[in-house]
Each structure stands twice: as structure tokens, then as C-alpha cells.
Symmetry: D2
Subunit: 359 residues, 4 copies
């Protein structure tokens, strides 16, 4: 069950980076929701390799086909299976990696856990694994649009290396974010970030960064205390993505250095609604949405594959050196944005459906 | 199912801060594990009010009784129910709060979600809810001691307000942490933190801070990709605790500002084992433990209840003011330490048992 | 998780027949449902020992207390914990049974599974375990009354030994069933059954029988293919009750000897509704209710404890003899009726709530 | 989650009878288990149409392809996705059925539940849905062979219409069962059954029957009280199969007409093991296997599709008549045998893995 996520809207993903294909089975999609391959493809295209000059040049079209659960563009209420065939397999690139553990990859830990591992491409530890999540996220968005059309979920690159973007979570638009290949709402920072990635890549090195995500228009009342609090489910969703090292919501770690009088969000009646006049809570109080913008950040480490020699060991226990090969992202952030916003969509969709059982 | 946590070792908690009592039912404890009320009480005593001069003076003994699943000090393999009766009920303190939403508490969101809420003491949103988790953590520790006795789980206060403690995760001991009422491994910082809490409390204000936790001696191979990665489960566990705003593992948010060559952990054979010579991964790679120390941090916001007037609204939608009353922690950190280390024990125990199904 | 049942309305039971107590935690009860100790007690009283001259004379009042989740007679939406303290503990009666495995009891299998077992009273294998189920059933009934007040769930004794009752599932009433201590809708058969039980008991022997259950007024559309079909969930619910040996729905085993033209239920429009003019389907088609009466039967074996000497072995592996002692039901059927109808209520309630997530 | 089954070894099936394909994702298969397409195909071939003169002549090769989770014939410990493409699509045969509800099919109930349904071939209510179960059963058998090689799971046709087969569950072999197209261990009855099916089919009618299943060599200790008792899980597994109307274990319904002294199974030490000298318990006591043969029976109703005119209604609510068309089984029993034994394998495999977490 470790490859399943969600309670009512529950996805089960499968597939290695190399092999027959990658996909997802969605159980719990309500019936009569518009679902098409085009809708799914749109999200997958935001995630796929080769989409711009700063991401991996691997040529995978990542074409989704719907195997079940949909008829004439509408969901049947039965499981929706989506398959993306693998295409650009060059296992040759990975020969050396079959015997040498790549530093800060999962080669060693998969061997330690399973006593066997996919010998090429990282198996389930590859970022390619997220295809199933993103495809399911596209379906989740359709349900959200049906149940709570006022909800908007937007993510963007908040920082890359030491370059910070200045983005207003209350006003940034999807068009602004998608207008640059970094996927950030700050065009000036975007230019600097592109330059930095190119520079780092030319050195055979890599960089990390932070993705920020806002959920606007979320109705109050979503989230299921005490373990399935909305921020706890978002944290799990994000920390299950490859390469993530941290999650914070609202004031986050900075909030831990404040006093209560600085941190508390006063309530006021505004336009007949209970509102807070600040949002250090990040839109969630006691694990339940309060109707304000839900705002969180996710830290991504630098890509583990670098082109300079590194100390490592072989699977038979000898010290050695390894130099990265193959076509990798020097910075995963631009492609991490759709992973973050689609995982957020999965969480929101599930909680909208869970809330329906409260009355 | 939102009050259940874990897969094989699965706990279901219940209870409001006021009412008959608080407790937990543990399903999946292996048989023949030593479990006694004393063992459980030991952990509860680390969490309970009134334990020192810097925590809330509420007088609750938080006495645990085992209702089922244990015979002559050994688990039967059947559900273990543990009950802590509520004692020090002064609902009078909360009268005003029944109509006025306390800022940055969960009063409003519970009303928005359920259309009803426990009118005194915060209900399930009270930190008192964590009793069930800590009691279950005591049992989880017994199973860990049986299955992997080399595992040590230690948490401590890393910072309070702007005061940072300097603690070496590789060497700090439980005795050092428990030797001061802050629960930190740095006696100098402890003194400053105590002074700061007293000062802040005298102003009717509150402060937040950060808890750090290390898991030493964890065998390689724990964690269940792709959604139940070890860090994802730890993140959910921690972010489901009251007042948490952030989680980071290993290099965390700082790691997002590094390059790959700075961040990657080289492998070396040391004493016949695969080891890393640095630990920016925080002991987990690809969602699976690698045998190094698992190290993470959890941010806690300042306690929401403060003794100065704040703007708020009533449940009937009128603007008003509220001033905190009652006996509250001005800083939750000392009592948060056992919440963090026991939640970590729940996650570890569950994953040790899950790993047994892999062979 | 093996002591939990249900998906949205999820119960977790605990407790041995001897020990601190027996109970249940209910997670997923919608808020603002009327729940009181009286409502729960009413169902428990139908199940408890000593209620009539033909059941075990053990004196247990089985008094329920609600520990959490309810305020002023209304559910809060948080977990409802219900506890029944054990009272009439005479472990002395069981001394011999501690070393000798009682034939057709679970003493041996618990030892085989867990390597330890509750040394008195059968532990979780005692029919006393069903207290938690029945208490939760009382709450489930309240939710059903709120969501689908037209639903009636009635069970009755269909046969005891070779005596069959003639009961019309379409018209039988709760009053008719509860008007005799057998709990059947056929007063003539009831008299014969009472005589048979007394006769069998006087011989130190025991008898089995069949309980039949009808769910009237069930809306079409409940049940979740393909694994959580309504009959599959009912079957699991019933076969998890102690002493059950069989489950059949509608035509049941007799239906397997029919042809399609004899078995199929024709559809007709009646009063503007789609109806079937026969009901060999038992109210469920393809795992989903069709609006007709759901009708099923559950076979119970004769009580295992008998007062005549039987061959058995000791826990240390020696052949021996054992003669039952203690105060046991010679026939479990009258007390099985509320177990069956309340388990049916648990299933129905869960599926009513699951159906709410389909739109 | 309604299309998922199992706890540790968990399968999620998908696919309509017509559409892209049918399949299953298996989560929780231990690593390094031999799994090949040939092994899966072998079980699918026992289930597929067109395999003999007495089953539906539909021409579907039901060819399985493994999409993930297997490398060089060994499981990786990651999800195993198996896909069977649909081939023989003749939606034309079903035109009339799109508007007229087929009696005792699930057309009406799917419409009632989902407000939409697969307009051809019965969608998920088709017996074709069981492909995913059988494919997963083939994998489950491999795990069982690895963990408990002494276990044998055999099912056979016990009766068709009023013809009973005489089969000794203790000695019957797979070869005997597979030596006739009925799949029964009684060659004389097999001939009669074949004649009966042909006769019934020539009348445009159909017949039901009973499948019996034995699990030999099961170690004591499997089954998880109180809700996941072994017989409860078997009952759910079987009652989730299409067309099933009843389940009984050991003495079954007949046991309800016995006395305790007749029904109890005496224990004796035999060859140093605790054994029972009779087996009315059917190999399970208190929900846990006792080491004796597990023996159960499953009732199947006659196939709903018959070639004679029947009264029914249209989806727009008008009375009408319908006469079956297409190529259907006049008796599902021969193909039900691999459904039953493979579902039993799924349950056993899951419980073998669950038992590993008890120590």
C-alpha cells in the first residue's frame, strides 16, 4: 500500500523509469466528471523532459493513454487507469551505476531494503515516478473544478541557489508563472535563475531551490484532525516527492522565532465573513482550512547526479570513484512546480470528498 | 480514520481535553512484548502539565490505566487500550471563549467544519490530545527495543525564540537532555531559555521554538517508497502535532541553497559497512534509511493563548476583543520534546514491522 | 488494523472477556447526530447475559459509558469512545481450561498464532468481544435514521436445531421479534425452540441455528464494486462474528440448483419506480442495492462449551479429557440476533456515507 | 479503495469488459520472488473464454503483459502492474441492452449508483473483471510457494444444477480436476454435468452450481481476529466474485442443525502435533487456522443472460421485453473454479505476510 495515496480519492502508482511504462490507477473518482487524455496530457507536458533549454534533454513524449474508467469523456465512477509508455531507454548510460552506488541517490538504500534493485535509471527512485502523480493530479483538478470552482492552486519557484524570487501569492497568475521557463512569478529573478542554472550546468554541477504554493479560494472546513490535518497531509505529499528536504506552512520556521502577540492572526468580520487580518497561520488552524490562502514552501536539494568525480563504493563493498553520465537536470525546480501543485490538488480533492461525509 | 495513524502498528486516539478521558487503542502490537502501566506513565510524565516552573501549572496527574491487551506484563497481540481520566476540569475559565473565537486557535475552524465544537478547553485541538500518542509511543519503544535494540530516539529543544542551543546529535544523551527543565543538551542555552520564558510569560506573551530529533542506530532499509517514504511519514507525524509550522530533514531548507558537489554525501567503506562521510541526507536516501543518523527539526509557533487583548469575532459574527485566561504554557517546547520523540517512535516501530513483510 | 471495521464510519474494538473492560472507538461519525448512553444501552441490553431463562445466567450489567466525542447528547464529529467495564469475573471457573484446550474453541489457535493467550474466559475469542460492535451499531442506527429514515433493519431466529420458524420478511415487526425470548417472528416455533434449548441444556449439550436478517427501505445504489460489494461486506461482517459457519443472500445455496429462467428477477415499473417482481437477488445486484428488501441468513454452530467429557490435549502436548464448567449459553441464537442486526447497521451506515462521495 | 483488496499484499484492479484493457496493480509483493508472464498466463488460461465446448465461445486470448515491478524474472519489491488488452469487442451485440435493463444483471444498479454506466458489456460487472484477480492470484501463489511450500490450494465443481460430484478434499489432485472440462474431481459426475450444460444451453437457459475449495498444508496461526478472521476474509473474497450467493465453511449451514457433542472436533496428539480427529470446524477456529484442511463452498447462481424473452424495463422507465443475445456461458462454474482458488490464494498470501509481523 506504500504506492497508494489518498483516502476517498485514492491513487496507486506503478512503474520504473525503464521498463514497460509508468502509470496510475485512480479509485474513487466520482462519476460524470469530464476526463480526457488531453486534460491529462496538459499537466504531463508541464512535467516532461526536454520542454526547455534548462531541463534534461531526454526525449520522452510522455503520452498518456486512458485504459479504463472513462466513456465519451466522462468518468464512470470506476477505476481510471492511465498508462505512459517508456520510450527513450538508454540503459547503456547506466552501466557503471549498476555496480557503483551513486552518491545521494537511492541505489544503496534500495539494495539494503529489497536485496535487489532496478539496474538502470533509478527505478522507482527516479523523478520519472512522478508521472503517475501528475496524471492523477489532472483528474483531481477536474473534480475540484466541479465541487469547488473557486479554488485555485498555483505553485512557482521561490528560490534557486541563493537567488530569491519576489512573488505575491495573493495576485500571481498561472500565465505569469508559465511565461518563463523557470516557472516563477518574478521575471527579473527568472532571468538570473536561468543564467545560474546554465553556469552551474557548465561546471557539471547542480543546484537546489524552493517551490512555493498557494491554494486560493479554499472553503473553510477542510482537513481531518488529528492525524490527517490538512498541513500534515500536504507535508506528507510534498516530502514524498523526490529530492525534498523540508516543508513549512505560513510563518514556518521563521514563526518559531516570534512571540504570540506578533504571530497570532486577529479575526475580523469582512464582507460578512470571518476573516483574519494577517495570515501567519498559512490558511490552516488546528489542521482545518480557515478560508484564507493556504501558503506553503517545499525545499528541494540539488540534483544528486553531477558530472564531477565523487567518492563512492561498489555494491560488493569496495571504495571507488564515480563520475555522472547521462542527460540530467542540473536543477529540478522548473519541473518540480507541476509536481508540487498537482500533489496539492490530490490532497485538496481527497479532503473535499472527505468533507462530504460530515453531513 | 482521521484519528488513526500507522499501518501495521496502528493507533486510534480519542478524547477531548474536557470530558470522560483521553486515550488510545493500539492495534498490531506483536505478542509477548513487555508492557506495563509504569512504562507508559514514564513517558506521560515527561509530557504532563505542572512538571516544572516554566510549564502550565494545571494539576493533572495524567495517570494511565491499561484496559486490555496485556496480561502479567506482556502484550497478548490483541488491541491495547489505554485510558487517562480527565481530572482538573475548570470549564468556567473558558466561558468567554465559548462565544469568542480565540485568535490562532481552532475554535473557528472546528465550527466551520463540524457545525459544533467542544465548548470548553479546545476539544481535540488541545495539546492534551497528544496523551494518546505519547502513551502509544511508550509501547512502540518497547517493540523497537525488542526488534532493534541498537536504536536510540532522542529529541531536544534546538531553539526558543532567538536563543539557539548547541547540541551534538551524535553524542547527546537522554540524561543530558532531561537534566534541565527546557529539555535541551546545552546547559548554557537552557539557562537563557528559562529566563526568556519567564520574561515573556510575565508580559502575558508567549514564544515558539524548534525541536530537533535524532534516530541513532537505525538499520538501513526502513521506509516505503513512494508515498510512505520514511521522511514523508515523519513529516506527517510531526505536522499533525499541535502548533507545528515546519519540518526539515538533514540539510533541510539550507540544503536548497547548496550545489550538488557541496551537498552530496560520499560513500566509503568503514568497518566493513557502507557509510557516508557526511550526512546532509539526514540518514534517509530515496525515502529509505541508509544507516546513518536520521536527523530532523520541527518548528513550533508561539502558544496562541496570550494574556493581552486581541481583536477577534464572536461565533455569531460580531467584532470584539478577547484576553486570554486560564493556565497555559507560555512556551510549549519543553513539553513538545516527548511529543516529537514519541511520534518518531511510532513511525519507526511501524516501519520496522513493515520491513518484516519484505522477506 | 484487524480489530477495525468500516471505511468512513470506522470502528476499532478492544477488550478481553476478563480484564479492565470492553469497548469501541468510533471514528467518522458525522457531527450533530443524537447519541446518548441510553441509546447505546438499549442495544447492549438485547445482547447481555442473564436477560432470560434460556441464556447464560452470568450477571453482567454491561453498562456503557461514553468517554468522548459527545456533548449534550450530540456527536461532535470526533472519535466516540465507549467503555463497558467487566464485572462478573470468576477466573477460577477457567483454571482447568488454562492447560487444556477446549475443543472447537480458539484456545489452541490463539496459542499457535500469538504464543500467548488470555488465560481466562477466552479473551478476544469470547462472544463478549461483540459488545463493542453492538455499541457501535447503536450509533450507526442513529446515523441511518438521520440519513435514510425509511431504512429498517430486522433480524430474527430462523431456525434452532431442526426447528424452523416461519417468518415473513416483508411484514415482520421488531415488536413481534422481541415479544419472545428466542427473538423470532413465529410464536409457535418460539415455544418449541424454548423447550428444545431447555432439553438440550439439561443434557449438558448445546445447539446451533440460523439467523435471518432483512433490510427494508434501502435506497438503490449502495455497495462499492468490485471488492466492497454490499453482499461481500455483509458476508465479512457476519463471518467475523463468533460461531458463524455460513452466509447466504437471496436465493443462496438453493439458488445454485435453479436455472436462469427460474432465478432471474423480472423488472417492472411499479408506482413509478423500477421494481423486481421476485427477489431471488436478495435486494442486491452486481454488489449494489436495487431498492428491494435485502435478505440474508447466517448459520451459527452449536456452542462449543458442553458439560460432557470430551477428548482433548494439554498445551504441553498430552492427550487428556475435559468437561465444560461455568455458565454458558446452551444456544447462542437469541443473543446472536442483535449481533447480526447491529453488524448489518454498521455496514449500511458505512455505505450510506461512502455513497455521499459519489456526487 | 473499493477496487483494492488485501492489507500487506494489496491488489488494485481496473478495467471494463470493453475498453483499453483490464488489469491489476499489486503492491506489497516481497522482492526476489520469481514472477513471469508465463506464470500469470497459466492461471489466466484456466479462466479465459473459448477454452472448451461448454464455455462462451468468445475469442479473447487474454494475454498478460507485465508493465513494472519485475526484472529478469524476479520481483523488485515495487508495484507489479499487469495489463490484458481487450480484443474481441463487438459492442453491437449489446445495443438493445443499452436501453433495456437485463434482468438480474447490474445494469439498473450501476445507473442507480453512478448515474452513468458502461454502455456495452456490463463494464465492471462483467465476469471479465476477474482477470485482474486471477493474474494477481498467480503472483500470490508464487509467494506462498516461497513462504509455505507445503500449502496446496485446490478448487473444483461440487455441483451443477442438481448433479453433485463426489470428491475427497483430502486426496483430490489438480490433475484430476483439470482432466475434465467441468473441473471436478469426479469423472462420472463430470460427464453428467457436461450433458446437462449442453441440454440447458440448447434451451437458451442457464444453470448455477457450487464450487468447493480446500487449502491443504496451511500452518496453524493464520487469520487476524476479530474482523479479519480467516473465514471472514475468505467470505468477503468469494462474495465479491460475480454471481455468488452463498459461502459456508466446514460444517456450514448443516452444522447449524447439529448439537455441540456432534459438532465439536476432539483434539488428539498425532505425530507430535495437535490435530483434530474430525474437521467440522473446516480448519479454522476463532478465525485462526488450526493446521487442518481449510474447506469451504461457494454458491453461484445461474448465469443471468438467457436466450428466452423476459420482462424488464427501459432506462427511461417503460415496461418492455428483452431476449439475451451474444456469446455467454450457460454455466459459469468451470471458469469460476480458477476465480475461487486464486481469490483464496490472495487471502492466504496476505495472511502469511501479516503473520510475519507478529514476532
Amino acid at each position: 500500500m506504500s504506492s497508494s495515496f489518498g483516502h476517498i480519492f485514492r491513487i496507486s502508482t506503478f512503474g520504473e523509469s525503464h521498463g514497460g511504462g509508468i502509470g496510475v490507477v485512480i479509485d474513487g473518482c466520482p462519476p460524470r466528471i469530464p476526463v480526457t487524455e488531453e486534460i491529462i496530457q496538459h499537466e504531463l507536458d508541464r512535467r516532461r523532459p526536454g520542454q526547455s533549454e534548462i531541463v534534461t534533454p531526454r526525449k520522452e513524449s510522455d503520452t498518456a493513454s486512458i485504459l479504463s474508467g472513462v466513456q465519451d469523456g466522462l468518468s464512470l465512477g470506476t477505476p481510471i487507469a492511465i498508462l505512459v509508455r517508456n520510450e527513450d531507454q538508454r540503459p547503456g548510460s547506466y552501466d557503471e551505476m549498476a555496480v557503483k552506488y551513486r552518491p545521494s541517490h537511492a541505489d544503496y538504500t534500495y539494495d539494503a531494503k529489497y536485496g535487489i534493485r532496478a539496474l538502470s535509471g533509478g527505478g522507482r527512485a527516479s523523478a520519472r515516478e512522478t508521472i503517475g502523480r501528475v496524471a492523477a493530479g489532472a483528474v483531481a483538478r477536474q473534480i475540484i473544478a466541479h465541487l469547488a470552482p473557486e479554488i485555485e492552486i498555483l505553485a512557482w519557484v521561490k528560490s534557486i541557489h541563493d537567488i530569491d524570487a519576489h512573488v505575491d501569492p495573493d495576485t500571481v497568475t498561472l500565465d505569469q508563472i508559465e511565461s518563463n521557463i523557470i516557472r516563477t512569478g518574478d521575471p527579473v529573478a527568472a532571468e538570473k535563475m536561468i543564467e545560474r542554472i546554465k553556469e552551474i550546468r557548465s561546471q557539471g554541477n547542480s543546484v537546489g531551490g524552493v517551490v512555493e504554493c498557494v491554494i486560493r479560494g479554499c472553503p473553510p472546513g477542510l482537513g481531518e484532525p488529528v492525524f490527517d490535518k490538512l498541513e500534515a497531509e500536504l507535508a506528507k505529499a510534498m516530502m514524498s516527492l523526490p529530492a525534498t528536504k523540508g516543508f513549512e506552512i505560513g510563518s514556518g520556521f521563521a514563526g518559531s522565532r516570534m512571540t504570540g502577540s506578533e504571530h497570532n492572526d486577529p479575526y475580523r468580520m469582512i464582507d460578512g465573513r470571518v476573516r483574519t487580518t494577517s495570515n501567519r497561520s498559512g490558511g490552516i488552524q488546528g489542521g482545518i482550512s480557515n478560508g484564507e490562502n493556504i501558503l506553503f514552501r517545499v525545499a528541494f536539494k540539488p540534483t544528486a547526479t553531477i558530472m564531477t568525480p565523487q567518492e563512492t563504493v561498489t555494491s560488493s563493498g569496495e571504495n571507488t570513484e564515480l563520475k555522472g553520465k547521462g542527460r540530467h537536470d542540473a536543477c529540478v525546480l522548473p519541473r518540480a512546480v507541476p509536481m508540487v501543485d498537482n500533489m496539492a490538488a490530490l490532497v485538496l480533492c481527497d479532503h473535499l470528498l472527505r468533507q462530504k461525509t460530515k453531513s
